[in-house]
């Protein structure tokens, strides 16, 4: 199917079904119930799952396959956002031109940065990309204010030309659309005690994420993907095989830059504003964390990592001391206070602390990320029943 092997096609199909049913699956708790705060099935959050999923899938093509650790990918995301917003200001509120431009601009930008940064490898490469990203961030804040609107961030205004759109007479800002379908529009469905929201914005992001995943699978399984893994494995042998390494790494860099641009364009399409803080190096660090947490070099890892981080960021930030006191209400008063005092730093504003600890734990104990962890657990459970058949399994690769 679609030029994929059976296993990969099945994987893509499962992800597609899960993604398209996300509004239902992510709202397991009845609306209005105590547990409803743990629901993730509202459009804003689901959009972020999909968009950061795209960002991480792209980052993984560079880092997971070639091993080049870029600390500047947020710059491409930011550039994508700015391009898209400019398209909304100048051309049309239809998201298609905006997204196309954001991918192209991010691709060109990453071509230039990649061409220079890839002259070095290892830690030097990381620092070069970091330097470029910080430069872009600083410039966006200062000199480039005419383009980026500095600290305020780039926003829509009523005076924008928007040459393709019909002149508006009402006094409100226009909204982003896809051929008339508003991104922010959502249909609410009541089903028994549950309430589901199906929004246009989420489905647009989800379809693009599936497309991004499909392309990533094609790249992973292609001869080009083998070459990229060869770059990670042994550059010396690669050049003594007659291959110039640089074009391969540059291609991977530009592809992942374009993915970042797509993610940036989509962020702007969902909420038409762009700020410089999207380009800061901590934002670059976030995508690194997502990819590693999920599992670098695996197909599903980046999506899982992005979903994981964005979900817990959202949930943890909502939990304050009062909520914690409620949870531990069954404990005697003194103990309750004590427990809440101890764990409170990890919730609410302390989400970053939890994330940092979690990230360290993954790097130390589970370098393969969550996907690898799941695999290990799966093997643990499968070991006993499979024990009898083991000789069979061992000879299989030899056929």
């Amino acid at each position: 199917m679609f030029g994929l092997e059976k296993k990969d096609a099945a994987l893509l199909l499962i992800v597609a079904v899960v993604t398209l049913c996300a509004p239902i699956l992510l709202n397991p708790f009845p609306a209005g119930s105590e547990m409803a705060q743990f629901n993730a099935g509202y459009p804003d959050l689901m959009q972020r799952f999909a968009i950061y999923g795209i960002f991480a899938i792209g980052f993984n093509i560079l880092f997971g396959l070639t091993g080049y650790l870029s600390f500047g990918h947020a710059a491409f995301l930011g550039v994508g956002s700015y391009s898209a917003v400019w398209m909304f200001k100048l051309l049309s509120m239809n998201i298609i031109p905006g997204i196309i431009l954001s991918v192209i601009v991010a691709g060109l930008f990453s071509l230039v940065i990649g061409f220079i940064s890839l002259r070095r490898s290892g830690i030097y490469f990381s620092i070069l990309t970091l330097a470029f990203a910080q430069m872009s961030y600083n410039l966006a804040y200062s000199v480039l204010t005419p383009i980026t609107n500095g600290e305020t961030g780039l926003q829509l205004s009523l005076n924008d030309p928007r040459v393709l759109d019909a002149a508006r007479t009402t006094g409100s800002l226009p909204v982003t659309t896809l051929f008339g379908a508003e991104m922010r529009s959502a249909t609410s469905v009541q089903f028994g005690v549950w309430e589901w929201q199906f929004s246009t914005g989420f489905y647009v992001s989800a379809v693009l994420m599936l497309l991004a995943l499909y392309l990533a699978i094609r790249i992973f399984r292609s001869p080009f993907g083998i070459m990229l893994r060869a770059v990670k494995s042994n550059q010396n042998r690669m050049s003594y095989t007659g291959l110039n390494v640089r074009p391969y790494t540059l291609a991977a860099f530009v592809i992942s830059g374009m993915y970042a641009g797509l993610a940036g364009g989509l962020l702007a399409a969902m909420d038409p504003l762009a700020g410089a803080e999207r380009m800061q190096w901590t934002a670059s660090g976030e995508v690194v964390i997502m990819t590693i947490l999920g599992g670098a070099g695996t197909l599903l890892g980046p999506i899982i990592g992005a979903g994981f981080i964005k979900y817990f960021e959202n949930i943890f930030s909502k939990i304050n001391d009062n909520v914690l006191h409620d949870w531990f209400a069954f404990l005697p008063d003194g103990l309750n206070d004590f427990v809440v005092t101890v764990i409170a730093p990890f919730f609410g504003d302390g989400w970053n602390l939890t994330m940092g600890l979690m990230f360290m734990a993954v790097v130390i104990f589970l370098p393969g990320g969550l996907v690898d962890g799941a695999r290990r657990i799966g093997r643990l459970f499968r070991r006993k029943p499979a024990g009898a058949k083991r000789p069979d399994a061992a000879t299989k690769p030899a056929e």
Partner: protein, 253 residues
Amino acid sequence: MGILEVKGVNKRFGGLQALGNVNLSVAENTVHAIIGPNGAGKSTLLNVLVGKLIPDSGTVTFDGQSVLGRKPHEINQMGISRVFQTPEIFGDLTVMENVLIPCFAKRDGSFRLHAFEQVANESLIIETAEQMLIDVNMQDKRHMHAGNLSRGDKRRLEMAMCLVQQPRLLLLDEPTAGMARADTNNTIDLLKEIKAKRDITMAIIEHDMHVVFSLAERITVLAQGTPLVEDIPSRIKGHPKVQEAYLGTTAHA
């Protein structure tokens, strides 16, 4: 006129004359060994041959073209493949993928984004790779990760990766260094087989006399950076100058 011609090569490192007026000619379709005691300049010469070091003077030509100052991938594209002292393979990839990479690599070296379109002659390429694995007797290990192979198998794989490119010259840098005797003999057999099967020129830099005399058709003895003698193996054995170089002047008597 040999396929590889080294003429008047000099290389100095500070006060040390590493190579002094080296002349060497490797004839096509022969196995040419370069031997010499430690510090004779073998490694320096090899590094000059693959363009890693640029000599102070002299020329190195392969098939009439200079190799000096070229990048490793350009030298490979000229038709020179290299086997390293410790096997250089793609440890994270499977054995089959290891052999596929040189198959995908085009001789003109141009970059191809084989991500979405079909590779030209893909089935032929895969067939060639599988045949190569059969030739080196590794077809049953093709799904293994190359990093998990035994040292002898890594060496075999590396040779397969070089040979599948059908190089005109194969450079071997101490191919049996650190191997057990059995592995060494296997490697010798493998090289003999390869030589019997196809037209190929080999230049071997080697320490182990057993290997050299089992394989070489011509031998150059290097001492203190200069070629001492060049001759067929039977005449190198017992050559007084060679004994002098290896054992010192006292053995001369």
